[in-house]
Symmetry: C2
Subunit: 179 residues, 2 copies
Amino acid sequence: MKHDAIRKSFERFLRGRELKLTPQRRRVFERAFATHEHFSAEEFYAWLRAEPGPKVSRATVYRTLGLLLEGGFIQSLDAGRGELIYEHVVGHRHHDHMVCLACGKIEEFHDERIEALQHEACAKKGFQIVSHAHRLVGYCRGCARKLPLEDEAARGDDTGAGTSATSAQAEAALEDQRD
Amino acid sequence: MKHDAIRKSFERFLRGRELKLTPQRRRVFERAFATHEHFSAEEFYAWLRAEPGPKVSRATVYRTLGLLLEGGFIQSLDAGRGELIYEHVVGHRHHDHMVCLACGKIEEFHDERIEALQHEACAKKGFQIVSHAHRLVGYCRGCARKLPLEDEAARGDDTGAGTSATSAQAEAALEDQRD
DNA sequence: CTAAGTGCAAACATTTTGCAATCCA
DNA sequence: TGGATTGCAAAATGTTTGCACTTAG
């Protein structure tokens, strides 16, 4: 397991910042890399409480996840419901996300061509990109099948952004508006 | 002004749902369409308090923005800092966003080719897309110029997601990890 | 009239912070 | 040893909700 290499990288990161390697930090780090799932801070805290090991307080969970974030060991993504979702990134190739409105599952996708077009857009605007969030919101294959008819559910609700779905009501009086 | 048409559409929307047209709802609606800016609920509430007109409580602001959202009159986007940002959408063509980490400015961009690739990705996974959020985080042209050297600022901090920037420390011990 | 809508304040959920006690380097 | 780190509880945010009062239809 190159887990070792990642751990070393983490220790190097701490040393480089003159931060101490505490049992809490070690535990948070290890736990974050022990799962391939996406998790919220609160969920993560629950895991630590349920599993044996040195006590880690909620505050320390937040503080340490923030640290791992700064170090680029994990990244956060906004699933669109108030809380941030994390996933470890070291050792993973970049990808974007599809979030299922019904079951909450998060699937990953990647398309190099999209990345390229993204950079093209930045170049055009003189925007120096640091990171990006590209999230598709909808229904995964399984849930889409179960939906009787996407009356109500299939729109509206998403707290998402850059929405491409516009409600019928609004569409109605549109036609040529440009305001 | 096709403002009229939009207002009518809003009234139709309310009637369709058997909702009442109150002075508060009218005011929130009018104000949302009176600006071309992106705004947060809190900011919006401040506007209403500062400007003359029928009193609208914070709760009603949230409730009504939610309503406009459901109706597809406005859409929300997550600028990555805990609060949702809104913008009216009726009469606007779809676009995605670039958020400046330094000045907070939000620029818009659009690329039909990206949209197409997005749909392709969904088709491939059997994902039924409802909406999407595509946000590029970084520094706008003006701010990028001002940055002395992107030591610290240029990475780390983003609460963004789908990050493509990975810190040096983390990169270091990577090479071939795939875990 | 009367169900729906409003304002208010309290409730919530997530994340942050102040501070005394504790611990790593 | 001594500044960094922790835990705890309180605070800060942003948003939602319960309820008595008001009002659109």
